[in-house]
């Protein structure tokens, strides 16, 4: 009560509407939402003051709802400051409470701030039973996806299929499949995005063939723990250099068992560079900087220079330990 008396008072509504808009545009996303909660008129004022898509909305369905807003270089947690009382207690008791609350709350934020969902992620084990609801709900939401991710240890084919269907128009896609069981293959042929990341355990990824990967169209491709042989990777390299596959690809990363260099480069004109030749590869999306010291140069038929390297496996005495193969187009 004492605090209320001390609060400064300012008759905002007695200012011209254009000036009110100027003042409101100085508020950060959390303050904007708090202001919008005062009354219906305040909600209208916020909607009027913010132009379309002023912020990036990042949504993660996990154990604890995560709704974040990116504004410039700043991130704002839009969930925790707005949790209802005792929400943390109910969070553990009732999974449906947090999912429904998140869905309703995201809808409110999108409406108030004239935004669309830009990043959308689901952690499978936290949302196993509510997954169909989340996907149905997401399909009705305004979104302009730059990044979509489905990850976890409880992935099932049906959910993966639904997720890919809902997020087919995204700029970047990450599937982190860590289930300990085999799943039925899902059609992921001809994915077309700027960034694709497929990672997981060897057995959880074994349904993804090299032919499927060769059907993708992307700029960045990051693949974790696969079991392709040197001969397969040799064919992959040859097709890539001839421009038959992945024509836009600039950055490639895969974790494999260490490959024999002779078999890998069989029939390819490769040029080993001295370690004194230091080159830095910088990439904007996703933000990336790689320093190459020496390594192997090859050329695409189009004339572009390609450099690749195979790092030694982290545990040289473990026969199953994977090594990293990395390739960039300059």
């Amino acid at each position: 009560m004492e605090l209320c008396k001390k609060l400064p008072k300012f008759p905002l509504l007695f200012l011209p509407i254009i000036v009110i808009e100027n003042a409101l545009r100085n508020l950060n996303p959390i303050e904007l939402i708090k202001f919008s909660q005062i009354s219906k008129r305040c909600l209208k004022m916020i909607k009027y003051s913010t132009r379309k898509n002023p912020f990036k909305i990042i949504v993660t369905f996990s154990h604890s709802p995560q709704i974040r807003i990116k504004s410039g270089h700043d991130f704002y947690n839009m969930a925790r400051p707005f949790f209802p009382e005792d929400f943390d207690v109910n969070l553990d008791k009732y999974g449906c409470v947090r999912i429904l609350w998140s869905a309703n709350w995201i809808e409110y934020i999108l409406d108030a701030l004239n935004c669309k969902i830009n990043d959308f992620s689901i952690r499978s084990e936290e949302c196993l039973y509510s997954f169909p609801f989340i996907i149905d709900w997401f399909s009705t939401m305004k979104h302009c996806l730059e990044f979509a991710a489905f990850e976890g240890q409880a992935i099932i084919s049906e959910h993966l299929k639904l997720f890919l269907e809902a997020c087919k128009t995204t700029r970047g896609l990450v599937l982190s499949l860590y289930q300990s069981y085999e799943i039925l293959p899902v059609d992921i042929n001809s994915l077309k995005m700027d960034y694709i990341g497929l990672s997981g355990r060897t057995q959880s990824l074994n349904w993804i063939t090299l032919n499927t990967i060769m059907s993708f169209d992307c700029i960045d491709l990051k693949l974790g723990e696969f079991v392709f042989a040197e001969t397969e990777m040799n064919l992959f390299l040859k097709d890539f250099l001839k421009g038959r596959i992945l024509p836009r690809m600039k950055n490639f990363w895969i974790e494999l068992l260490p490959m024999n260099f002779q078999l890998l480069t069989d029939g390819i004109e490769a040029n080993q560079r001295e370690k004194t030749v230091v080159r830095e590869y910088v990439h904007k999306y996703p933000m990336l900087s790689i320093t190459f010291r020496g390594r192997t140069d090859v050329h695409k038929e189009s004339g572009e220079l390609v450099t690749f390297e195979q790092s030694p496996p982290p545990s040289p005495f473990d026969p199953n330990c994977k090594a990293r193969f990395r390739m960039v187009v300059w």
């Binding site: 300012f10 005062i38 219906k40 132009r51 912020f55």
Partner: protein, 201 residues
């Protein structure tokens, strides 16, 4: 031609015509007079256009009556002109429409605006009326800063905002004041709807 090779010319500094600074005279609605430099006036689009349109010479400025600004009082106008003099010659910012706006309050402005909210309110009105973009930006930023760390209930009290119920009551009162018969018709319509009638007529 390089700077070293440029011909050196002796200049008689006394012969260079010195541009006379012109100071305009303004009068607030409580008859307080202010002298403001031509350069400082450029911060205000409204005043700048006004003096351009008037086309005063230095003599006119001295001989003619001060330009009256009828809806701003002396205390507010003093702050406005102090601000304009301090920021004279600075570029006028262009609004890029970004949210949140990137506005920094300089130390001078923070001290100038260390005033009660009543005077701040008048200052904002004056900045808007005189179209002083950057003064409006910093003063609006100061108003926005009042929201820091507040709950919706606190914000309502800080900004003196009506609740939904108060808005509804005000709307009803306005309707009644405007047209009492319209209100009666509306109530009759609501009553018939409650009774389950399909048609009003």
């Amino acid at each position: 031609m390089s700077v070293e090779n440029a011909p050196v010319v002796d200049v008689d500094e006394a012969a260079i015509p010195v541009e006379k600074k012109m100071y305009y005279r303004f009068e607030s609605n409580d008859k307080k007079e202010f002298r403001v430099s031509e350069l400082a006036i450029q911060q205000s689009e409204t005043l700048n256009r006004l003096v351009e349109a008037m086309g005063y010479t230095s003599e006119d400025v001295e001989n003619k009556p001060a330009i009256a600004i009828e809806n701003i009082d002396g205390k507010t106008l003093k702050l406005v002109f102090q601000w304009c003099e301090h920021h004279k010659g600075e570029a006028i910012p262009v609004d890029d429409g970004s949210v949140p706006k990137i506005v920094e309050i300089p130390e001078f402005d923070a001290k100038l605006m260390d005033i009660d909210n009543g005077l701040l309110f008048k200052l904002i009105w004056a900045a808007d009326y005189l179209n002083i973009v950057q003064l409006l930006n910093v003063s609006c930023k100061k108003v926005a800063n009042m929201a820091q760390g507040k709950t919706p209930a606190q914000l309502r009290r800080v900004y003196l905002l009506p609740s939904d119920e108060e808005d509804e009551a005000a709307k009803r009162a306005a309707q009644e004041a405007q047209d009492p018969r319209a209100r009666e018709v509306e109530e009759e319509f609501e009553e018939r709807k409650r009774q389950g009638g399909n048609s009003f007529f």
